[in-house]
């Protein structure tokens, strides 16, 4: 960090009306009553129930074709069949491995690149065009290329997952590194804190909420990356099961796999938010349960 005092990079903090998100007067009661806490646990199942109700209605009353929309009971049956299949474990395992490996790579590389670019302004400006270009390109279009390069195995899917997850993490970390409060910096400078102490006690805690904000998006993107990769090649994973069910015109199984994917995605997301709650319990986003 630029702790150089020799230059007039210094600007004052007083009279600066910019509100500080994390330090603002938060009404402690907001969103914290037991009722508010429990609300999602009540509304979630209710909405699920409503969905299944409408679904069943569409099938039995409106008479939508079994192939377009299988009955809920049929999907549940297909789910049972899926789990009876001894191969299901390996399919889930492969997809999970691809998602987690891709997410892990994105996390490490995203934090490293984001922190570097956030600290070195000229470098950030220099690579800006490349970043923008990469960002606007629909990245799933790369999957066939990765298949050519890395084959039909998990590698191409891992890379796809990592590529999709990389951007939200990198961009958030870049922002986070720059978001160190000027007043906080004055405190550390006034205390003559070492570079390491400044990092440990100020820069890292400032950036962590941004890392988690990126990670929450990234974990969802990794699932998308892995599934799209599996759609296009290979013979393993839940994405492959979706495609094979489609080819077999087995609608109940197709729906069952999608339900599985939804559950998997939700569990992964919950894992990230739970980690966040443990690591940064002090942060506003944790308190208000966002």
């Amino acid at each position: 960090m630029t702790t150089s005092l020799d230059r007039d990079t210094d600007t004052r903090t007083d009279g600066d009306p910019a509100p500080r998100a994390v330090d603002a007067d938060a009404t402690p009661a907001e969103g914290e009553s037991p009722w508010m806490r429990r609300l999602p646990w009540v509304s979630g199942p209710l909405m699920l129930l409503a969905l299944v109700g409408v679904w069943q209605f569409a099938v039995s009353v409106v008479g939508v074709s079994e192939f377009i929309l299988p009955a809920p009971a049929a999907v549940v049956g297909a789910l049972g069949d899926l789990f009876a299949d001894p191969e299901i474990g390996s399919h889930i395992g492969i997809t999970l491995l691809e998602v987690l490996a891709g997410f892990g790579i994105a996390l490490v590389v995203g934090i490293a690149v984001g922190a570097t670019l956030g600290r070195i302004a000229w470098l950030q400006r220099a690579v800006q065009p490349a970043l923008v270009a990469l960002q606007v390109v629909p990245k799933v279009a790369f999957v066939p290329i990765f298949v050519i390069w890395f084959g039909f195995g998990p590698t191409s899917k891992i890379i796809m997952a990592a590529l999709l997850a990389f951007f939200p993490i990198m961009l958030n970390v870049m922002l986070g590194v720059r978001s160190v409060d000027r007043g906080h910096r004055d405190v550390m400078r006034g205390l003559g804190a070492s570079k390491w102490a400044t990092f440990r006690d100020m820069e890292l805690p400032t950036t962590l909420p941004y890392v988690f904000a990126g990670a929450e998006v990234a974990i969802v993107f990794s699932v998308i990356g892995a599934i799209v990769g599996e759609y296009l090649g290979g013979s393993q994973g839940l994405g492959y099961l979706v495609v094979s069910s489609l080819n077999a015109l087995d609608a109940p199984r197709l729906f069952a796999v999608i339900v599985l994917l939804a559950v998997l995605g939700s569990l992964l997301y919950v894992a990230v938010t739970t980690t966040k709650k443990l690591v940064i319990p002090w942060h506003d986003s944790v308190r208000t349960g966002v």
């Binding site: 914290e32 004055d186 006034g190 003559g192 942060h283 308190r287």
Partner: protein, 296 residues
């Protein structure tokens, strides 16, 4: 997180215990009696010019000031006259364009580089509390000790003592956002006191507080100053606050900032709020205000 572990609803009603006379005669472990020639802080020929896109801003011009050890100096002046700039130069956050700053005979700036060992002895309080939201009150207060490598157990004990000093007992484990503005500012003061600073530099520390809280904080600050015997430079734009607290009031005039006058305040200590009703106090305030008005 659903239940509040701390009694936030009841702000602590801590009133500073009456200051005994003998506390003034023996301020801490420093042997110097008040008003002796010992220098706490010396500023000589300090000049500061900001280089901005729209040209240079001459913020401070030839500032000479000597603050005795244990002395309380208030800095007043209208907005933009360079109070913050001067305080930031004193606190080592901003390099002066010219001139020297000495703390207890030791130069603080050598060839444009700050001597960290000098500034490490200073305690800073800013207009905003600037507490770290990721630390509890106790950890915030203990931060200076942590940076000095004091053991965890020791710094917790010391920080708890400091919390008690500023009337924050019972809030050690709260996060800053669970505190009121005044409580946060008190935590910031406790943090500044953590490493027994020889010099306390405060930039409008109570500027954001309501008048009642402010009065209480002034009494607390007076008490802390009396007990610790630190040198204090206190920036404010409230003339009565400046007079109430200070041994001397330094008036700055703007563009470029220079010292216009230094007014000794000989009101007896400890001062209570009643002192503000005395004729002497009134005259001092009116005199300073007149000087400010003459600038137009």
């Amino acid at each position: 997180m659903t239940t509040q572990q701390t009694p936030t609803a009841t702000t602590p009603t801590w009133t500073p215990p009456p200051v005994r006379r003998d506390e003034f005669d023996a301020p801490g472990d420093t042997a110097e009696p008040m008003g002796s020639r010992a220098v706490g802080l010396r500023v000589a020929g300090v000049d500061k010019t900001y280089a901005t896109r729209r040209g240079d801003v001459h913020a401070l011009s030839n500032i000479d000031l000597e603050v005795g050890r244990g002395e309380f100096v208030s800095l007043v002046g209208r907005s933009g006259c360079g109070k913050t700039t001067l305080l930031r130069v004193l606190s080592g956050l901003l390099a002066p364009t010219a001139g020297t700053v000495e703390a207890g005979e030791r130069p603080a700036w050598v060839a444009g580089r700050r001597d960290d060992t000098v500034f490490a002895e200073f305690g800073l309080v800013f207009q905003e509390a600037n507490l770290f939201p990721w630390f509890t009150v106790l950890d915030n207060v203990a931060l200076p000790l942590k940076l000095r490598g004091v053991s965890k157990a020791q710094r917790r004990t010391r920080a708890a003592e400091l919390c008690a000093t500023v009337g924050l007992s019972g809030f050690e484990d709260s996060y800053p956002r669970e505190l009121s503005g005044g409580m946060r500012q008190r935590a910031a003061i406790a943090r500044a006191l953590a490493c027994d600073p020889s010099v306390l530099l405060m930039d409008e520390p109570f500027g954001a507080l309501d008048a009642m809280t402010r009065d209480r904080m002034n009494l607390e600050l007076q008490h802390i100053h009396a007990v610790s015997g630190t040198t204090v430079v206190f920036v404010t734009h409230s003339i009565s606050e400046a007079v109430f607290l200070a041994d001397r009031v330094v008036l700055l005039t703007p563009r470029p900032g220079r010292i216009r006058s230094v007014t000794p305040i000989d009101l007896p200590r400890p001062r209570s709020v009643e002192v503000e009703a005395t004729a002497e106090f009134g005259e001092l305030v009116v005199g300073l205000r007149r000087q400010l008005d003459e600038e137009d």
